[in-house]
């Protein structure tokens, strides 16, 4: 497939924003159960969730560059019964709204304890909003990933690993971002976010490598024989029906040499996983907190490469019909 930068930025920015929200809420849940000390300054959550919202808005803006008619984008909410894209279009604004509410309630301090459990645990409004936000956040991850994973003839994508990758890679970049953010806003949480970021990054590495191994062993189900229905071992296309290019020759092929595809694979395997882990570990151990934003930037750049590769690697069966110009 041809990697469109609008979609690459959409998926990576959303992933980072969603991951950051999950990170914020995870620390709040830890504080709720008194595993972490409660965050005295609610400004930390306000700033963090606004940062997450900023990433989500940036992703949304990027998505509009993918559309031929952005002014009709509202129509995309219509077919949620059948289309994962439509579901994403509904869940994304709902999630953004909840992140905004979460931020606003923290900011306004409108946080009365709703339920008090035995043992002094009090459930307040932000906790409830956070639960709803977490549900929507994972729904959004699943919707985004299923847009690709549901296309069964794009065999590289048609796997539960696609969903796992979107969740773990988005989560990893979000927790790394949270570590970088907390270095400035709440230094006490750097260790918490940093260690989780390392764990999720390594989990992401595991599923991504598993995906690479799976895809390396894929056997295309469609062949030129089934494409034109002639049963012969030796079929060569002599003409695709036109002398120039067409949508079919532009949209479904990355158009880059195979050597670039291979090198991008190693670039993202390096930038998205081991380098950020080293930078995070360095940032945690030496309290050189300047390493943490670098870790996020390096990982984000790696994830851009990862998403480019994700699209470029998948081969569409329609390409069987477009192999020779004349």
């Amino acid at each position: 497939m041809h990697p469109a930068f609008s979609v690459i930025f959409l998926t990576t920015l959303l992933g980072a924003g969603q991951g950051l929200f999950l990170a914020l809420y995870t620390s709040q849940v830890y504080a709720f159960f008194h595993v972490l000390p409660p965050q005295a300054d609610s400004g930390f959550y306000v700033g963090g969730s606004l940062l997450a919202l900023l990433f989500l808005i940036a992703g949304l803006v990027a998505s509009f560059f993918h559309l031929g008619h952005p002014e009709r984008a509202w129509r995309a909410a219509a077919k949620w019964r059948t289309s994962w894209l439509s579901r994403e279009v509904i869940v994304l604004p709902a999630f953004m709204g909840l992140v905004f509410l979460y931020s606003a309630v923290h900011w306004l301090g409108w946080n009365p304890p709703l339920i008090t459990f035995e043992g002094g645990l009090t459930l307040d409004a932000t906790m409830v909003l956070g639960i709803l936000g977490t549900v929507l956040c994972f729904t959004l991850f699943v919707c985004t990933a299923m847009i690709y994973a549901c296309l069964k003839f794009l065999q590289e994508w048609h796997s539960p690993l696609t969903v796992a990758n979107y969740i773990l890679l988005g989560g990893a970049s979000g927790f790394t971002l949270a570590a970088a953010y907390s270095a400035y806003a709440a230094p006490g949480l750097v260790g918490f976010y940093g260690k989780w970021a390392i764990v999720i990054t390594l989990l992401g590495l595991a599923t991504r490598v598993a995906t690479l191994l799976r895809n390396a062993r894929l056997k295309p189900k469609s062949t030129l024989q089934t494409a034109i229905g002639v049963r012969h071992g030796q079929i060569v296309q002599k003409a695709q029906g036109f002398m120039g290019g067409s949508f079919n020759t532009r949209e479904f092929f990355h158009g880059k040499p195979i050597s670039l595809l291979r090198s991008i694979k190693w670039v993202f395997l390096l930038l998205a996983f081991p380098l950020p882990v080293l930078l995070l570990a360095g940032g945690l151990s030496s309290s050189a907190s300047a390493l943490l934003p670098v870790a996020f930037l390096v990982q984000y750049a790696g994830l851009l490469a990862e998403r480019w590769f994700f699209f470029a690697q998948s081969s569409h069966p329609q390409n069987l019909y477009y192999q020779a110009i004349s």
């Binding site: 559309l67 129509r75 995309a76 059948t82 002639v230 296309q237 290019g245 069966p317």
Partner: protein, 243 residues
């Protein structure tokens, strides 16, 4: 239920591209608007087409065969491009099974083109909406045309009658009979899209002569002349020739 479709006879197609030009001519003049054509006489021409004719060479020299392969939307019975459309712009008509795009609802996200394993959809680079074969839906029901002309433009144009048009759900229609009796097949059956358009394979008429037909098996001594007649008392094949 009706399912209109084309049946394309690869045994007859000569690869003249008349269906391509006729399709473009009819549909670019239609009420849905023009179909883009950029740099048609330039170095890198490109444009939107509903129909293409491709050419394949099967086999190795000297035993090669050229297959001309017209390619347009197959109007699948289970079209994978329809459920993925987020706006409902892409739809399959209940009354006749034609898969259409509502150009006023399409947001140009290209997702349906990803979801078509055959690559039959093309985005119009100027109108920014997805386009595809309509089976000349603005022609086949046009009461102002004589009934014999209520067919897709490509079918009308084909000089060798390689394109048949009809209802594949009616077992006695010309297309159903052709599929049934001439070995019609669907493309890429492995994806379960159940294409309505079918293709008829290349066929060769061969005279089958067995070795024992070249030599008279009932004359092992190769002596010419009348066969000995069986005696009257002996049984014969038909009770007549032995007289």
């Amino acid at each position: 239920m009706t399912q209109l479709a084309l049946v394309i006879d690869l045994n007859v197609c000569v690869g003249c591209h008349a269906c391509v030009t006729s399709c473009k001519e009819w549909n670019t003049s239609g009420q849905a608007g023009y179909m883009s054509d950029d740099r048609p006489y330039g170095e890198d021409p490109t444009g939107t087409f509903f129909n293409r004719v491709q050419t394949y060479e099967v086999g190795a020299f000297p035993n090669t065969e050229t297959v001309h392969f017209p390619k347009s939307c197959l109007h699948c019975e289970e079209p994978p491009c329809v459920p993925v459309c987020p706006t409902g712009a892409s739809y399959k008509r209940k009354e006749d099974g034609i898969v259409l795009v509502d150009y006023d609802k399409c947001i140009g996200c290209k997702y349906c083109s990803w979801a078509c394993p055959y690559g039959m959809r093309e985005i119009d680079e100027h109108q920014k909406v997805m386009k595809k074969c309509t089976l000349c839906v603005d022609r086949i029901y046009d009461q102002s045309l004589p009934e014999t002309e209520r067919k897709p433009a490509c079918v009308m144009a084909c000089p060798t009658s390689a394109r048949l048009f009809g209802d594949v759900h009616d077992p006695e229609s010309v297309v159903s009979v052709a599929i049934r009796e001439s070995g019609g097949y669907a493309l890429m059956p492995e994806w379960g899209a159940k294409p309505s358009n079918h293709y008829l394979p290349r066929r060769k008429t061969k005279l089958m002569i067995h070795a024992d037909e070249l030599v008279r098996a009932d004359n092992p001594l190769k002596k010419e002349g009348h066969l000995p007649k069986p005696d009257l008392s002996e049984p014969s094949l038909d009770d007549v020739t032995s007289w």
